[in-house]
Symmetry: C2
Subunit: 90 residues, 2 copies
């Protein structure tokens, strides 16, 4: 199998895996088992990958990370909202 | 800033983000807000990245994905266990 195809397949898997996660999270508004640190650091990392892709003019990296951010920015928003809500309750 | 540094920083962020997640998941044994599809597809994608890295002899890709798999294989195991447990309860 062509090496490039494995790379694209890997990118498609790790990127689009997050789509069912976003759908579930929006539906259930429950992110209690997610670590806040994970969500924040992971999304920051995706931003860094995007900057890296832009500076290197690497279109696959740009496209995969723009897509990933479209899934993870809303998940991060929902997680922060949950943490703030729980913090206010105390 | 050196481009390579941004790339490594991005890899460190997206990889080590999962460490606090693994710690939380092991402690609380709760993965209810994780989508099974996300966990399975994401971990499969990490395996594909590892294969891609090995075939291309690309050490950063190999190292980052071996580390990521060390975090995500146990998380996947815990999620599958939870799904099986809930399925037996019904």
């Amino acid at each position: 199998m062509d090496l490039t195809i494995i790379g694209y397949l890997a990118g498609i898997f790790t990127t689009f895996a997050s789509l069912p996660q976003l759908i579930k999270s929006i539906k259930e508004r429950d992110l209690s088992s997610f670590s806040l640190a994970f969500v924040l650091i992971f999304t920051t990392g995706l931003f860094l990958w995007l900057i890296y892709g832009i500076l290197r003019n690497d279109y696959p990296i740009i496209i995969f990370n723009v897509l990933s951010l479209m899934f993870w920015v809303p998940i991060t928003y929902l997680k922060i909202k949950e943490v703030v809500r729980n913090w206010k309750k105390r």
